[in-house]
Amino acid sequence: MGMTITEKILAAHVGRDQVRPGEFLMLGPDLILANDITAPIAICEFNEIDRAEVFDRDKVIFVPDHFTPNKDVQAAQQSKLLREFVKEKKLTYYWEVGRGGIEHVILPDEGLVLPGQVIIGADSHTCTYGALGAFSTGVGSTDVAFAMAVGEIWLRVPATQKFIFSGKLNPWVGGKDLILFVLGQIGVDGALYKAMEFGGEALKNLSQDDRFTVTNMAIEGGAKNGIIEPDEVTLEYLRSRTDREFEVLKSDADATYEKIMTIDVSGIKPQVALPHLPSNVKPVSEIGQVLLDQVVIGSCTNGRMEDLRTTAKILKGREVDPEVRLIIIPGSQEIFEKSLEEGLIETFIKAKAVVSPPTCGPCLGGHMGVLAAGEKCLATTNRNFRGRMGDPGSEVYLSGPAVAAASAVVGRIVGPEELF
């Protein structure tokens, strides 16, 4: 019987030919991840384990990104705890503020994520790495503590749902529009506990950056993981990032899917998710009049090079509406530097945007652009739950970078074609 790529990766990690959905497995993850919010809890629990040592210094990675550069005393203490643990246990990989960025942006860019790996992280958007053909999923702090000490994680094999993108992409439509569209169709629990496998001709035409956006938001459909079979685009990205060896796994033609959904992308225009659910999605043309106070372009969803290039294309020679605060956050120091070299930062600043250092920042209402009651924000992030970016009385809309940049210029939510 055929297997999906997700099933194959899990089977390979337990040394078996076959696994079936629903089965419990205990297996060894290739990377274990936590951030400045979740690592302190995991460290506490790890310290409760009598005589615990980190099982492999190369495989445990802590990234300070949520409230860094430290937003207050408590955040400073959390980061310090994380930093001291990294030093004490001599963990191999660590990127200090000024060298790193958002976890899900830097891990692939540093060449640490490979196809066929199993990656767990105490962060729900760990599912991002599926864009490179890895199985990656968010778990709890206790799971991370256990995995750090023992080198194992228990998982249940998810059934797979397949999403096939066919047809030709419309102008200004990117990965964010595709995943928002899917979420609008299936709802926030449409893929509960499942693997979301994305494929199809239209997906093959997307850049690697756009693919990270797609898998990043699998969790917004309730999924355990999102995954894309590696192709030439992925292999080229990997070759530029690492010379480590890996095996590329693909789904069998006769693999069993719980559900297959084919989506003709030629009918998809730029999409926006309205408050307060990522599945509350409409095409931008049907949004009506939404005046904005703030626009945020960044995050582990859309803070990559392609996103900033798209943003610059729209902002070049224009200015942000005087009533709007536009905050642009490169996802990592490397992306910041490249944006500087390509002249993007200059375009942003001349357009009267503020450019923040790499951080999660306002995405979870931490700092660098928290909202007041009654304020409306359009963000390229992944969650628009009530109060996500500040006061519970504020409203967050979600879109890709093209709609976000154009809307910052106009002052209300619009599609980019309005400017051209």
Partner: protein, 166 residues
């Protein structure tokens, strides 16, 4: 492991805020959390529970936040296990990780009345409603999950694993 106790029955979509309200989360002590377990549905719940009693609920038990305090509170109240029609995914994970045995078994829930005596064999997945004299079967857990539950959760299980290696 055999669990046996009186049934406490609840409806569907019992969320983590109902299981343990957020205002008590500053504690991580199961006994302390247990005192407030399900208090918004039954203010005297924790004082009425006898150690070993079994909680029975409809669909989607434990939905809401990812807090591990929820299964801890149930355990701390003296409940030995939960049988429900279905569980929210994160609650499921958290319950096993803190060593609270939980079982999905819709027919056993259907027939259960508050106050009935229920017996659960955690190894075989056999669930008996002693009062009614009826037997049901839940999917048994693999050996390692049973062990995690038996030793009292993932942290204890880690210690056991580490000691074995030494």
């Amino acid at each position: 492991m055999i669990l046996e106790g009186k049934i406490w029955k609840f409806g569907r979509d019992i969320d983590t805020d109902v299981i343990i309200p957020a205002k008590y989360l500053s504690s991580y002590d199961p006994k302390e959390l247990g005192k407030h377990c399900l208090e918004s549905l039954d203010p005297d719940f924790s004082s009425k529970v006898s150690t070993g009693d079994i909680l029975v609920a409809e669909e989607n038990f434990g939905c809401g936040s990812s807090r591990e305090h929820a299964p801890l509170a149930i355990k701390g109240a003296g409940i030995s296990g939960v049988v429900a029609k279905s569980f929210a995914r994160i609650f499921f994970r958290n319950a096993i990780n803190i060593g609270l045995p939980i079982f999905e078994c819709p027919p056993a829930v259907e027939d259960a009345k508050p106050g009935d005596v229920m017996r659960v064999d955690t190894k075989s997945g056999r669930i008996t409603n002693v009062s009614l004299g009826r037997e049901f079967r839940a999917e048994p857990y693999p050996q390692f999950i049973q062990e995690i539950i038996a030793v009292g959760g993932l942290i204890k299980y880690a210690e056991k694993k580490i000691r074995k290696k030494i």
